[in-house]
């Protein structure tokens, strides 16, 4: 059963995670001249001029999983010039975000959105079991459905907007846009010119989920996004990847609807499952650029500028080269420290700039942090608010 010749793997432990965090901090400090943050350095969030009712949050998941050596390690920094030069210097950066849940993209994103390590089938069109951040946000703050949106990359994410929880659920969640589904509908099945934008699940490319839930309908393209089908198709032809399509739609949504809570899930990087390293790195570079584009859109849109906090975080990492049980960058199956430990970048008014925080936090801390920022109570979430941001 166990190949005795295989090198001993790194077992997930606080020690291994802390070592990763130290390494990330050192990489960043040397590259960007950042300072070490701590809980004693309280953020002036409370002094920020933006009232909670006007506050907006954009969450971007840097999906699906990228490792240190292709991002923050010295040899990887060439792949993330926008994060390194533009975003990190004006952000608080958390070096040790641990995901102790299931490392599948849908279930992990659902865990990020609920603050609970979800156990739903990663490859089934199922809603999260616990209430999502969108439901807390809308129910507690009495916000309309137009105020919480998800732009999701894969058709398999169509149920991410609202949970099956009996106290929340139907009618209380976020509206979900699946840009690929929208494009398929817009092209009426004749999508030869758009195939490059319609790639779906890389983890199991044979998976074709049945669509259900509160997905965005084609007829609402014009009504809500103020975008004609022809314009949408014409612009889509200028794009090179599904994530570019997602960011385009997200920007359109910001202009026309301006939701207070916008969640954008990236996915291009997960092409790594096909085993082509060049395509994986290309995905990282594109995602880096798109994160910068989202930040620029926030700064340029009057509804968002000066009152929006952006969170960027991967759902998890990928297997290390050193774990003989995996195949390096290709998958995230071993559950080793590198695949579980990621980072989070937070920027916006009231957020300390150029600060690195390397105490451990968990993926499930995101929802309680958003709750503290917005003023809702995520009563079923397992995590804790990140004090450095409050």
């Amino acid at each position: 059963m166990i190949d005795a010749s295989q090198k001993r793997s790194v077992v997930m432990s606080d020690g291994a995670g802390a070592a990763l965090a130290r390494t990330r901090r050192d990489f960043l400090r040397s590259a960007a001249g950042l300072t070490l943050g701590s809980t004693l350095l309280r953020s002036p969030w409370a002094r920020a001029a933006v009232a909670a009712s006007k506050r907006k949050v954009v969450v971007v998941t840097f999906g699906g999983g990228a490792r240190d050596q292709e991002t923050f390690a010295p040899e990887g920094q060439e792949n993330i010039p926008h994060l390194m030069r533009e975003l990190i210097p004006q952000s608080s950066f958390f070096t040790q975000v641990v995901n102790r849940g299931i490392l599948g993209h849908y279930v992990a994103t659902a865990s990020l959105a609920t603050g609970v390590y979800e156990t739903i089938n990663n490859f089934a069109a199922l809603p999260p079991q616990s209430p999502t951040v969108f439901e807390y946000f809308r129910k507690d703050l009495k916000r309309p459905s137009s105020d919480a949106w998800v732009v999701a990359p894969s058709n398999g994410f169509n149920r991410i907007g609202e949970s099956s929880h009996r106290s929340y659920g139907q009618g209380l969640g976020a509206r979900v846009i699946l840009p690929k589904h929208l494009l398929t509908a817009a092209t009426s099945g004749r999508h030869d010119d758009y195939q490059h934008l319609l790639r779906d699940n890389y983890e199991t490319p044979f998976y074709a989920p049945e669509l259900a839930g509160s997905e965005f309908e084609l007829q609402q393209l014009e009504m809500i996004l103020k975008l004609s089908v022809d314009d949408f198709k014409a612009h889509a032809q200028t794009l090179s990847s599904p994530d570019e399509l997602s960011v385009y739609i997200a920007h359109q949504l910001m202009r026309q609807v301006a939701p207070s809570l916008l969640w954008i899930t990236m996915h291009d990087i997960d092409i790594a499952h096909a085993g082509a390293y060049s395509l994986y790195v290309e995905g990282i570079r594109r995602t880096d650029r798109l994160c910068s584009d989202v930040w620029k859109a926030i700064q340029s849109e009057p509804e968002y500028a000066g009152k929006t906090t952006m969170f960027i975080l991967p759902d998890f990492g990928r297997d290390s080269d050193e774990d003989a049980g995996g195949n390096g960058f290709q998958h995230h199956r071993t559950g080793d420290a590198l695949s579980r430990t990621t980072w989070m970048l937070v920027a916006g008014p009231g957020i300390r700039e150029g600060v690195v925080v390397d105490r451990p936090m968990e993926s499930t801390d995101l929802v309680p942090t958003l709750g503290a920022m917005f003023g809702f109570s995520p009563s079923f979430a397992q995590g804790k608010p990140v004090s450095e941001l409050l």
């Binding site: 190949d3 005795a4 295989q6 044979f206 085993g275 390293y277 060049s278 195949n327 559950g335």
Partner: protein
């Protein structure tokens, strides 16, 4: 069923040599934890089709485990005993279908947050076994050769960046007859040390002419098999209720004959006789590998990884070839087209990382401190050599041909 209930007749469906082995160790198997045993049986059920190195390892593992006292057995397996399984898993026919059990166990471990505990138990078991039954050193030092960049006219970015700290980088290599020199070196080693499955040549494209003394796997020769597999996937996808788990189970149940693997059908030369062990190896490359059906670069890297892990070759020459350009996944799996657009530069980047993985995987084998490794940018002047006598992190501008570099590596 629980391990203590095992009877010889439970293994009636196993191939003859596997049946004989597990029956011989039935008493031991009756004492092992259910969280551990199906993983072992998943390997043993294929015993008839294992490489010699794997057979030896399994026999030594079983002999060692059966020799443990009760106290030792508790110490070795107590962490596995602590893994909590579901009634559904206990009721599953894990003797007949151990691989499917392991898939279900994996899902169970993830969803019940026991994966880390299982990893720890597995690593500790591996450490104990390695200490108790140290792997045998190879009869001669291993040699790994990786050839990358086929078809690339020029490339300005630095190559071998991950390998450079471990060896000497040469920038004035004479590329003339390079591939021939490397293949001859592999052949020469196979003639001097004729060990079955001891010397391999893996090609991500079409095989170059070579000696029959090398165990050979190539992407091109398996083209009809890949096409048959993709057709089968398409057919299965059209069935109602088909999901990824079901499809994976179906693929795992395929036999070589189902995809036309064999000397007659797979494009191999007529003089090569059927080799069921190699055929099973090829089948698993395509049914268990991710991306191996569509991209030649991951095919070559995964084949090398599996050859090293399973056959533990003394010599391994891997030649990467250009892969097709990325297209939507549904197009890629539709069929194997007659002609495809190639991504030469991307393939070089893939292969450069693949070379690093080939070296890492070679270094996981016994005798790593004496092993050598050479990687060459095909048709060009750049190569890197790692060996016990080679300085690390150095660069040489001395003129050399590949024969000289092989001599330096030894």
């Amino acid at each position: 069923m629980l391990p203590r209930d095992l009877r010889p007749e439970n293994f009636a469906g196993y191939p003859p040599e596997a049946r004989k082995l597990v029956t011989n160790y039935l008493g031991t198997l009756q004492t092992l934890p259910l969280s551990f045993e199906p993983g072992l049986l998943r390997e043993l059920i294929d015993f008839d089709f294992k490489f010699p190195a794997e057979r030896t390892a399994h026999e030594r593992e079983l002999a060692k485990v059966s020799s443990l006292s009760n106290d030792q057995r508790k110490e070795w397996f107590h962490e596995f005993d602590e893994i909590k399984l579901s009634p559904q898993l206990e009721a599953f026919d894990w003797v007949k279908s151990p691989a499917q059990f392991v898939e279900k166990l994996s899902a169970h471990l993830w969803s019940t947050h026991q994966l880390d505990a299982f990893r720890k138990a597995s690593n500790n078991y591996g450490d104990r076994l390695r200490q108790a039954v140290p792997p045998e050193p190879p009869p001669i030092p291993r040699l790994g050769i990786t050839v990358i960049g086929q078809g690339v006219a020029s490339y300005d970015d630095p190559l071998f960046r991950k390998l450079r700290p471990h060896g000497a980088y040469f920038t004035r290599v004479n590329p003339e007859n390079g591939l021939r020199i490397l293949l001859n070196a592999a052949t020469d080693r196979s003639r001097k040390h004729p060990i079955r499955y001891g010397h391999w040549y893996i090609d991500g494209g079409d095989e170059a002419p070579h000696s029959t003394g090398l165990t050979t796997v190539s992407y091109k020769a398996l083209e009809p098999v890949r096409a048959a597999l993709l057709r089968r996937i398409q057919t299965e996808l059209d069935r109602p209720g088909m999901g990824p788990e079901t499809l994976r189970t179906l693929l795992a149940q395929l036999h070589p004959v189902d995809l036309g693997i064999g000397a007659k059908n797979s494009g191999k030369k007529n003089d090569e006789s059927a080799d069921e062990v190699l055929e099973r190896f090829e089948l698993k490359l395509l049914t268990e590998g991710s991306g191996t059906q569509i991209f030649s670069t991951i095919f070559a890297q995964w084949a090398a990884r599996e050859a090293l892990r399973r056959a533990q070759p003394l010599t391994l020459l891997v030649r990467f070839a250009p892969r097709q350009r990325q297209r939507p996944m549904n197009e890629l799996i539709t069929a194997v087209p007659a002609s495809t657009e190639l991504d030469l530069a991307g393939s070089l980047v893939d292969a450069d990382m693949g070379a690093y993985y080939n070296w890492l995987n070679q270094q996981r084998l016994p005798g790593a401190d004496q092993s050598s490794f050479l990687v060459w940018f095909e048709g060009h002047n750049q190569a890197l050599v790692i060996g016990p006598a080679m300085p690390r992190g150095t660069e040489s501008t001395s003129a050399a041909d590949l024969s000289q570099l092989l001599t330096l590596a030894a």
